[in-house]
């Protein structure tokens, strides 16, 4: 016999604990500024494991919806989670917390680049960093192809968008606008 679920899991969705905008702002600032090499693992650690604001299931559901909507997944999640706990003020607080620190860091990086970017040593460092950064993006794309194995048709759409945007350098709006309806229709017909 499975152990009984803690009752809080069943009531969470309708009876969310009240978490104020300030707490949301601080939590999202903290997870954004700890997120070297990706924020999502830190979001999980902070929101689910440390603070217990979300159950594992709620985190996965929010992530799935965040991935469905355009834009950065973690940004969409911040809006949804903030709104859930504290309405519009919560959504604004969580999102601002997520981007404010990194925004200022980017400005600092821009200032440093302006001042020192031309120095030979900095140029050499940047040349190594950008070679690695290109590899990171390519590796991410290659990892994502593991989701493609089943249907040959999805390989076709991946290849077409790679050729259109990457090789031919056509505008993205035209390529995605042209491919998306067919890709979604194909996925709809192949649904189980």
């Amino acid at each position: 016999m499975p152990p009984p679920q803690p009752p809080i899991d069943n009531t969470r969705d309708t009876d969310a604990p009240k978490i104020g905008p300030l707490a949301l702002f601080l939590a999202f600032s903290q997870l954004a500024m700890s997120g070297f090499g990706g924020v999502l693992p830190w979001a999980h650690r902070t929101l689910v494991e440390r603070k217990g604001w979300l159950t594992q299931r709620e985190f996965v559901d929010t992530l799935a919806l965040g991935q469905l909507l355009p834009g950065p997944n973690i940004g969409n999640m911040a809006v949804m989670i903030g709104y859930r706990f504290s309405g519009y003020a919560g959504a604004a607080a969580a999102f601002t917390g997520l981007v404010a620190g990194p925004f200022l860091l980017m400005i600092a990086a821009g200032l440093a680049y302006q001042a020192y970017g031309a120095l030979p040593l900095v140029q050499q460092a940047l040349s190594g960093m950008s070679a690695v950064a290109a590899g990171l993006v390519l590796a991410t794309g290659l990892k994502m192809t593991s989701t493609l194995k089943r249907h040959s048709r999805s390989w076709l759409f991946a290849a077409l968008s790679l050729v259109g945007v990457g090789a031919l350098r056509w505008p993205l709006l035209a390529v995605v606008g042209g491919l998306a309806p067919f890709a979604i229709a194909a996925a709809w017909r192949e649904r189980d």
Partner: protein, 175 residues
């Protein structure tokens, strides 16, 4: 370098933000096309440098647009570029939340994700290809890119260590 047209930049980035399926790396190719190739506001190297610097800093990936905006037009550029990329998705997300779109696993949600997923893969690989074209100016830098791919696919190393290793490799003059 030509003069930057901020309203046009904002509009273009805002449109792109609605196409950012699976995150900002899927729209990087078109940002590069618009900023570097069509308008000559930045050199390919400045664009690739901005991306590399942003990867070395903590925070969401999308924040690299802040640095691109800063390079284009200082504070005003940083603010316009960032708001254009984050604004439309926030409004859409709020809308979806208000409509109580709780169940992304419904058949239509699954079909949209299943359809857009492969396109996002093609776009992400395009981003990597474009970055590699401006970053890999010698056999050694190309080798470093290749090594990064192998390490990322075979190990669970935090990418920040690889960026740091790349910086050190560059500074010691191996590249």
């Amino acid at each position: 370098m030509d003069r930057v047209d901020l309203p046009a930049l904002g509009l273009h980035f805002a449109l792109l933000s609605l196409m950012a399926i699976g995150g900002v790396s899927s729209i990087l190719p078109d940002m590069q096309r618009y900023v570097v190739e069509a308008n000559h506001w930045l050199s390919p190297k400045q664009f690739a440098d901005a991306y590399a610097l942003a990867q070395a800093a903590p925070g969401p990936n999308m924040m690299f647009v802040t640095l691109v905006g800063w390079q284009l037009a200082g504070w005003a550029g940083a603010i316009v570029a960032t708001l254009a990329i984050v604004g439309p998705p926030i409004l859409l997300t709020m809308g979806a939340t208000r409509l109580n779109a709780r169940n992304p696993d419904a058949p239509l949600g699954r079909a949209i994700r299943g359809g857009l997923g492969p396109i996002a893969i093609g776009l992400t690989l395009s981003s990597g290809w474009i970055l590699a074209q401006s970053a890999d100016h010698s056999e050694r830098t190309a080798l470093l890119t290749l090594l990064t791919i192998v390490l990322m696919l075979r190990t669970r190393l935090n990418p920040v260590w690889l960026i740091l290793a790349g910086a050190i490799a560059g500074m010691t003059g191996i590249l």
